[in-house]
Symmetry: C2
Subunit: 305 residues, 2 copies
């Protein structure tokens, strides 16, 4: 069943201890869509400028991503530049040019509206909300957010996530949103805000899933070389929603559903780990479903006892 | 089969956001022994002063710990005082009085020498080495160390761990010892130094086990309240060695052995998590084996997918 992905399609300048690229395809929507495309029909809603490169469009189209909702407007694509610390645990944003993204008003094509799965990348909460309202027949909707919206747009964010089925968020943001340091108590508070399924991403330490039926802990995948972590969180989101869409997951599945949610978290972790192996989305040029499933099975091997 | 535990028996002054105790039983040997005592016959080698409290001796004796190797000398017990940060991720040492511990020269009672399991708490590497040499018929020997020995006693430490079967170490210390940030590569380097089994403790994020047959990742247990993390790492060590001793684990067990090592890591995590629930070793006053096994099964529930 199909997934609609809404968010940024951008260009990034990235410097890691392994090297530097001045301009490479990026944006939450890009990473989510590329990852979800291994599991389900994926449709994107985003905006690009007239500098959007044909070969980048081809990367998405080559993965079967539906680009009908990719709006093209005069001007330049969203551009973001960052540099990572030596251990890659921190990054500093050097430049953020919103460009055409400043006027982004996501319009859902008629052919997308009855898609059962919706995932909202990190954009202004009011926009996320307007997208949600343009859809009908949703089985599962949710998304991501970030510290900026939590701090300065709190009411708007709370009104938005109230109707979400799931929220994906990193640990420091979860603590900020809940106003609570303890992860378990923070999770309980956030679930009272609306999303009955909560995934807290913990970077190299894995992820924690909370749902009505309990919780699930996934370790991080140990890579011998983290080349570039840009997009890993969004790839996690894409693997998560992609797998659930492939399975036709439904919130009403109860206990069986909880196991599927855990597997979705592992697929999320798998996609996030592959993303780190090359600069930007380069790993997706060669990544196969067989490689993804093999790494999923590896997770079984190193977590079973 | 019995375990010999060598290390400090001390008094601690502890301040956490939940309160403060001026003087409570502590020391690596204490925590390791209390934890191991749920699984196997446990014998300690340590030194205390004439201020060692009868009721603290009773806590150990009450858990069946063999105190024949507990040397009593004139003077005061090792005393250590610390204060934890608000989020309890950092602690500051306020005072370290070695007292009788300054002259600690561990002597293994004849009745201990043929014990098959030996675990060396964090003490000077040369002392750890001398203990190892006093034992005969060991099946499994190893222990813990810390940044101080890694930095200032590197050669002595390397000579000591060369003959160890296992090393337990936290993640920042593993990186320091290996001179390598990436955890997987750091693990490979450390295993070349001697210990063919390596457990890297990651605090609230769990633990990673490396052995000849691959690796295993254990998540941390999510507590709703971390009351006092003092001793958690040592309790991990005690649960780990205790379980292996209970099973009569032998390095030559190969693949079956690898699964037992994983279970030992989970038992270590279980004991470490219980330790955090009360000040100092207070949780051990009521903790039962049934509670330990119940939490072990909980780990299964929240890691299976």
């Amino acid at each position: 069943m199909s997934v609609v992905v809404v968010g940024s399609v951008a260009y990034d300048g990235i410097e890691t201890p392994h090297g530097r690229v001045d301009r490479i395809l990026g944006g939450a929507c890009t990473y989510i869509a590329l990852s979800a495309s291994y599991f389900a029909e994926t449709k994107i809603v985003a905006v690009v400028g007239d500098d959007f490169d044909k070969k980048d469009e081809e990367l998405l189209a080559g993965r079967g991503v539906d680009l009908q909702g990719l709006e093209r407007v005069p001007g330049k694509c969203f551009f973001w530049e960052c540099v990572y610390s030596a251990d890659m645990n921190d990054r500093t944003t050097l430049r953020t040019d919103l460009n055409v993204f400043a006027g982004f008003d996501p319009k859902i094509p008629a052919s997308y509206r009855s898609s059962p799965y919706l995932i909202l990348g990190n954009i202004q909460p009011a926009l996320q909300r307007s997208v949600r309202e343009q859809m009908n027949g949703l089985r599962l909707a949710g998304g991501d957010t970030m510290n900026y919206w939590i701090k300065d747009y709190r009411d708007e964010l709370l009104a938005t996530i109230r109707t979400w089925d799931f929220l994906l968020i990193n640990d420091s943001e979860a603590r900020m949103l809940a106003g609570e340091h303890n992860l378990k108590r923070a999770a309980a508070k956030i679930m009272e805000m609306g999303p009955r399924t909560l995934v807290i991403k913990r970077g190299e330490y894995g992820a924690a899933l909370f749902h009505g039926d309990g919780h699930f802990m996934a370790p991080g995948y140990l890579l011998e070389e983290v080349f570039d972590p840009t997009g890993a969180g969004d790839c996690f989101a894409g693997g998560f929603i992609g797998y659930l869409a492939e399975k036709g997951y439904d919130l009403k599945q109860g206990h069986v559903g909880a196991k599927e949610l855990s597997r979705a978290v592992i697929y999320g972790s798998v996609l996030g780990s592959f993303c780190c192996e090359k600069f930007g989305p380069d790993r997706f040029r060669t990544l196969t479903r067989a490689e993804i499933d093999a790494r999923f099975n590896e997770f079984k091997t190193f977590t079973e006892f």
